[in-house]
Structures are given as structure tokens and as C-alpha cells.
Symmetry: C2
Subunit: 350 residues, 2 copies
Amino acid sequence: METMVMSNKQVIFRDYVIGFLSESDLLINSTTVNLKVPAGSMTALVKNLYLSCDPYMRNRMRKPDPSSPATALSFIPGKPISGFGVSKVVDSGHPDYKEGDLLWGAVGWEEYSVITPIPNLHFKIHHTDVPLSHYTGLLGMPGMTAYAGFYEICSPKKGETVFVSAASGAVGQLVGQFAKLMGCYVVGSAGSKEKVDLLKNKFGFDDAFNYKEESDLNAALKRCFPVGIDIYFENVGGPMLDAVILNMRPHGRIAACGMISQYNLQIPEAVYNLWLITYKRICIQGFNTIDYLHKYSEFLEFVLPYLREGKITYVEDVADGLESAPAALVGLFHGKNVGKQLVVVSRDLH
Amino acid sequence: METMVMSNKQVIFRDYVIGFLSESDLLINSTTVNLKVPAGSMTALVKNLYLSCDPYMRNRMRKPDPSSPATALSFIPGKPISGFGVSKVVDSGHPDYKEGDLLWGAVGWEEYSVITPIPNLHFKIHHTDVPLSHYTGLLGMPGMTAYAGFYEICSPKKGETVFVSAASGAVGQLVGQFAKLMGCYVVGSAGSKEKVDLLKNKFGFDDAFNYKEESDLNAALKRCFPVGIDIYFENVGGPMLDAVILNMRPHGRIAACGMISQYNLQIPEAVYNLWLITYKRICIQGFNTIDYLHKYSEFLEFVLPYLREGKITYVEDVADGLESAPAALVGLFHGKNVGKQLVVVSRDLH
């Protein structure tokens, strides 16, 4: 059997994390990998080009709770963490994947991964006139999340008012642009002046505020939404959710995409205003993009023309090299990223 | 113009209520009423027979909040409170209502009310082979609430697991029986041994527990639902909701019918586990029966045969006389009622 052994740097999960994730919870380690898959194998050996930093990954660092199997699958201590990434097939035993194919989907955080391609978890990249890195964001899982979350969960109508938290992030910046395309009034919150400026000047939000500079989130929302909120695209949770409920209009919809402010807390923050959802007939719908990935080609057909025509834009925050991956991931939970956080493992397509 | 003046006892709303409702917030007062409606009027003069005590009424005792118009309309200090009741038309200027007609719908808490009949808020009673008092409960607004909440909001399927809180109450006892008819596994919580016995022995719940005797609601739910909860019919809110979220299965549904444990609190209780709804893809849907009353005749066709065949039963807690109405209403918030709480104003149909 032909072998071609290469060194393979990996981001190793040290142990289950309690409290805030820190860089020291992740180790860079080097091992080796055989670039040829065994004869008869249905696996593919891929070279990772870009890795996606996503907030949900923090929840895979919790100790598994056998009584709550619905939560995300935990990473295994001592093994590399995994997530979504863009990669190139180096060798493949799978008849549908061949050397040189570009993919996006689930891979390890490492230079090379052995994957067993799974429909709706590994997608071939057919359009390369757009930036390849976008398949970690706009054209990948976060894009699908914004698409399914906004159009399927929020049931938006022209003229409705939409609030997006973490609005300059991987998903939020798209939700805001989708909502503007639909003719909604759109306000976003973010954690710095730079991000607020992006929302207003680059993504076309009607208004935006820096939540860190608002002593009263309820008052900030009342100022931006004098008639109330029809749709809340929830990315943060905690006190923001509480203030939003106070400002929701009757029959309002909350798409619970994620609650990043809560993932590192040992005791989640309290929400007090839920009793109002009966009177306001509010729907809070938690969703997971995994349930919508079968719609990916429909989504691509929808979004690619907007991207090519410049009607949708996308901001990425790029960390260089696998060594920078732990800091990039940790930075998500402190709002250090401006736009979609990704890691370049290699720009070498050959 | 013919006049026929009668004395008219009323339950007067003293002033907006802060904290726990007490009997002294309501006064019995006597005034007079003309039993003939003015010529040309579209109103009806009705004699009230039964009044319904409903938890939502507490929220109409809050000071109106102009910034939150979505909440229930507040009662007016110095005026009688109002709610749903069963009454008989004494005189009417409205062509669709005539003397002797029996109605259920919105009336004042008083012996006689002048009403302007409104479609979907005042319903003629055509079936009198069943107890007339049931039109405050099983055959009235609470019945409609259980019907819409369970079948429309919960999307139940045979074999699913269903949890009902305040399960022996006006709505809960019906939801449990509907869920059993559908072939679900049904567990209820209530606040006394007597109520728990009712759930298990009269309403056919598969299991039930007294929440006041459980030091750990999460453990109680785990004991009753080893595989988790598909549907939660929410009547109480607060710590019970928090414990339920921990025990919900993926794609679970929570019908937020009401949160009676929160209505008398100046600061609502905290809920901590909302961040889990994303991972579990839980839907929490607040609803208000007002939005479903156009389905009342469909509901009656559904439920009357079950009632007549004895396949659905209904327990009422009857307070006698308008003087007992304040205590009956206050008692709701302390769980004093066993079954649907109603007040008999008069049993005299003539």
C-alpha cells in the first residue's frame, strides 16, 4: 500500500471546560497523517484551508450530561476539536469525491482531516468565482442559519420591525441584510462603535446601538422601536432577551438562534419577563441549522445572485495560521471579532 | 318609556393592585338597574347566573402601562370587574337576542349586566341537556383554551409525553383528558393530595405529583418522564418552567397558556434555562383564547359527544352568591379551588 506521511498540526481539546474558555484549554500539537486513504476505504483525506469559529462550539466543551442528550455532542479530551471548514480533497476512496474537489463541512481543527463524507454535512463547492473563505460564513453554515432562521422561523412580512443582536457577527450581518431586502425596519446591537458603524454604514441597518454603552437596554429598545418589535433574531440571551420581551409587539416572533452571552457562565443569567409571552402571544422558537441543511442548494440559488450583484456584502475577521486558532475562538466570547471569525490554515490550493 | 328598576349587587374594583390580590381589593356594592333597555338600543339586559373565576383577571388589576398595550385591558377603579359568565336575556333591543335566551360571554360581576352583544364574545347557549354551569368552564372559555392550546399549539401526536401544570384546574383537567384521548402519556402537577388523587383517579392521568411536596422539581420530572417531555402545557411559570426546560425532548413544544404563579409578584421569578431551547429546538408559544373563539362551534361539536358519553368529565368548585365572589377569585391564587372555580349568582332561570 502506498503511503505518504505528512506532519499534521492539530488543535487539541485538553479537557471539559468550566467557566470562560481560555486559550490554555486548547493545545497545538503535531502528529502525522498518511495522505493516502487505505484501499477500499469510503473515507476522504482532506487538506483544510479555512476553519470557522462558531459560538456553539463552546457548548461542545461541556462535560456530557447523560440526562440531557439533546445538547451538543461534547468534544473528546485529548482529541482535536472539530467544526465547519473549507477543505480540498487530497485522496479519496469515496466514489463521489475525488482529488482536487473543494468541500465545505465538518472537519477537525487540523491541517489534514480524514472524513467520511455525509450528505448534508459535507458539500461540494461548485462556485469559485466568489471568495472561498465565504464558505465558512455567508455561503456555509452561518449563511444557512441566517436564511432558515429569518425566512422559516421569523415569518417576516414587509414593513415589520426587526431587531438583531450580535448583529455584526457571522449570522447577524446577514439577517439584517435579508430583513432590509424584505422591506423591514431593522435595528441591530453590537459591542463597539466600530461594529455599530458597520451596521449602519455597510450593512444598511436603519439604526444600531452599542449595548455596552446603554445603561438601560429597555430604554434603548424603546428609543429604537417606538411601536415595538415584531421579530427578534436572538443571538445573545440573558438581559437583552429580557428587555426585548418587554418591547415585543403582539404576535411577535423570536428566533432563538443562540445565546452566546450564556455559554461560558456556570449559572446562566435570569430572565424575568416570560410571563408576558402569553398576553403578547409571542413565539420563541429554538432552532438548529442542522435541521435545514437539506435546503442548502435552494439557499445558494437565492444568495449567490445577491452576492455577485453586490446587494449583499459580508465582513470577515481572518486569523492567520492554525496556531492562531485558539485565540480566535476564545475572542468570539469577548466580542473581539469584527464580522465572521475564521482561521486560515492554508491558502495553498495545491 | 317603560321602566322596571331592580336592585343590582356588584363586585367593585377598588383600585389597581400591587402584590397579592386580597378580598379587600374588591367591594360588594348595591346599585339599581333598569330591566328594560331603552327603545332603539342595540343592547341587551342580562341576568347573570354563573360567573367564571379566571387567573388572567389578576392581570387586569394592574395599573395600565401605556408602553405595553399588549397586556390585558385593566379594570377601572370604582367600577365592577368583568369576566366570562352565563346569563339569561331579560330584555333586548338587539334583533338577534330575545328575552329568555341563554348566553355565555363577557359580563360584569353583578346581578344584572347591560351588554352589547359582540360576535365571538357572546355566544347563545343551544344545548341545555348538559349542566349550564359548564359554560363557565368545559363548554366556555377554559374549554376553548384547552382545545386550541392542546390541538393547535402543541401539535400532539399519539405516543408523545405530555406534562400539564395546574392540572386539576379549569383548563388543565381538560388538557390531560384530551391528551389521553389522543393516546399520549400524561402527567400532571397540582398543589394537594386531593388534587393529585383527582388527576390519577378521576381524570385518568398516567401519573401526577404534588409540587409542594417535591424539594427538587427537576428530579420529580425526571422520575415521571425518564425519556423526557414532548409537550408542556404551561399554566404556572417560574421554577416549574425552568425545571421543565431541563427535561424537554428535542423539538418539544411549550404552550404558554398562563403563568399563574407570577401574576401577584412585584418582581417575577427568574428563569435560567432558556439557553437550552436552541439546542433542543424547543418552541414556546404564548397564546390567547380570544384568537380562537371563532372556532367555538367546531369545539362544541367535538366536545359535547364526549361529555354526553361520559368520556370527558369536569370538576367544578362552586361558590354560592355574589358575596362569595371576591373570596373565590382570591382563592384561585392560593390554589384553594378544586377544579374549575365559579360563582353562582342565581339558580333562578325565571
